[in-house]
């Protein structure tokens, strides 16, 4: 049997609004399979997004969803998790939403190690608003706001998450569709803040400007630059030039925030 994605999607919502070849749909499908693999129940799961093309995912998923303000997904999600620690809380959004306007909420969710799964769809650009550069736009790349080439250094989302204290950090790509499911599922099962960065493509506002002839070229690039962590361990720095590590990049155990907070509540009650 072919996979039944439709039972996870609100009736009448397909075809979705994303452009031809946009990786957001591939990532949504990987997440659906991960939800099913983990046995997430619709009534006990909340998906929370900010604003952007990626963030539109909450409009499609037939779960408890919150489509919030730009950059504020992690803050709303933290509120949901604090009020209902028994719920599975998933945060989704783009690189702009999560690391520019929402960078502050992102690092503090990591620092607290609150038990949520944050899937960040990194297409290196602000897609929705027409291709302004984001903190994840490669240095030198063209965007509508860097027409002479981006002078800024680029955020490495995984390193940022590890530095800020996330206890599970992984990276995949929109090309490696089966791996998305595995990484998201492992993130959901992890107790603590799990960040899963998926390198994504925006053919409409990034690809065209940056001399990718087609969405296929963008997919091929994702295929070429990705190196699984195990394979990378056997490669020389020269061989790794221009490559990006994929798979589980970091995993540790550390006290989880809602559990710590429950103890604060019982101390305050004098228990």
């Amino acid at each position: 049997m072919a996979y039944d994605y439709e039972k996870h999607i609100r009736p009448g919502k397909l075809p979705h609004i994303w452009c031809p070849g946009c990786g957001h749909g591939i990532i949504m499908k990987g997440m659906i399979r991960a939800f099913e693999a983990c046995g997430l129940e619709k009534n006990n799961t909340a998906i929370i997004s900010g604003i952007g093309c990626a963030s539109r995912m909450t409009g499609y998923m037939d779960y408890n969803t919150l489509h919030t303000a730009h950059g504020r997904a992690a803050a709303f999600a933290t509120g949901v998790k604090m009020a209902k620690p028994e719920m599975d809380v998933i945060v989704v959004g783009g690189d702009g939403d999560g690391t520019a306007i929402g960078g502050n909420h992102f690092i503090h969710a990591c620092r607290r190690n609150i038990d949520m799964t944050y899937v960040i769809m990194n297409n290196s650009i602000y897609g929705m608003t027409g291709g302004q550069f984001s903190p994840c736009t490669p240095t030198g790349a063209l965007a509508s706001t860097t027409v002479y080439g981006n002078p800024d250094p680029t955020f490495d989302i995984a390193k940022l998450a590890i530095g800020a204290g996330a206890t599970f950090v992984a990276r995949g790509t929109a090309f490696h569709a089966a791996q998305i499911e595995k990484l998201v599922a492992e993130g959901i099962r992890h107790k603590g803040l799990a960040v899963i960065e998926i390198l994504d493509d925006c053919p409409t506002t990034y690809g065209r400007r940056n001399k990718f002839r087609s969405v296929i070229d963008m997919m091929k690039r994702l295929k070429e630059i990705a190196v699984p962590v195990a394979a990378a361990a056997k490669m020389t720095p020269e061989q790794l030039e221009g490559k990006v590590l994929t798979g589980v990049l970091h995993k540790e155990e550390r006290p989880e925030y809602t559990e710590q907070y429950a103890q604060v509540i019982s101390r305050a009650k004098g228990a």
Binding site: M1, A2, Y3, Y5, E6, I9, L14, P15, H16, W18, C19, P20, G21, C22, G23, H24, G25, I26, K29, F175, A177, A178, S214, V215, I216, M219
Partner: protein
């Protein structure tokens, strides 16, 4: 005799013609027909699922035989 390991279903109203499924099918089962994908070489399908996994638009389903 048909050698197909799966039957491919195309949901035309969802297909946006990105051609990702066509490009990465290992046995060249699929082809573009103007702006929508079509099954061109059904017998060659090895049921690897790559097209269904990668379609961003929920437009192609692989029914294993």
């Amino acid at each position: 005799m048909s050698g197909a390991k799966a039957e491919i279903e195309i949901i035309e109203r969802n297909c946006k013609g990105c051609s990702i499924c066509v490009e990465f099918c290992p046995t060249k089962v699929l082809a573009m027909d103007a702006f929508v994908v079509k099954v061109e070489n059904a017998d060659a399908c090895i049921a690897c699922m790559q097209c269904e996994l990668r379609c961003p638009d929920f437009a192609i389903k692989v029914h294993k035989l």
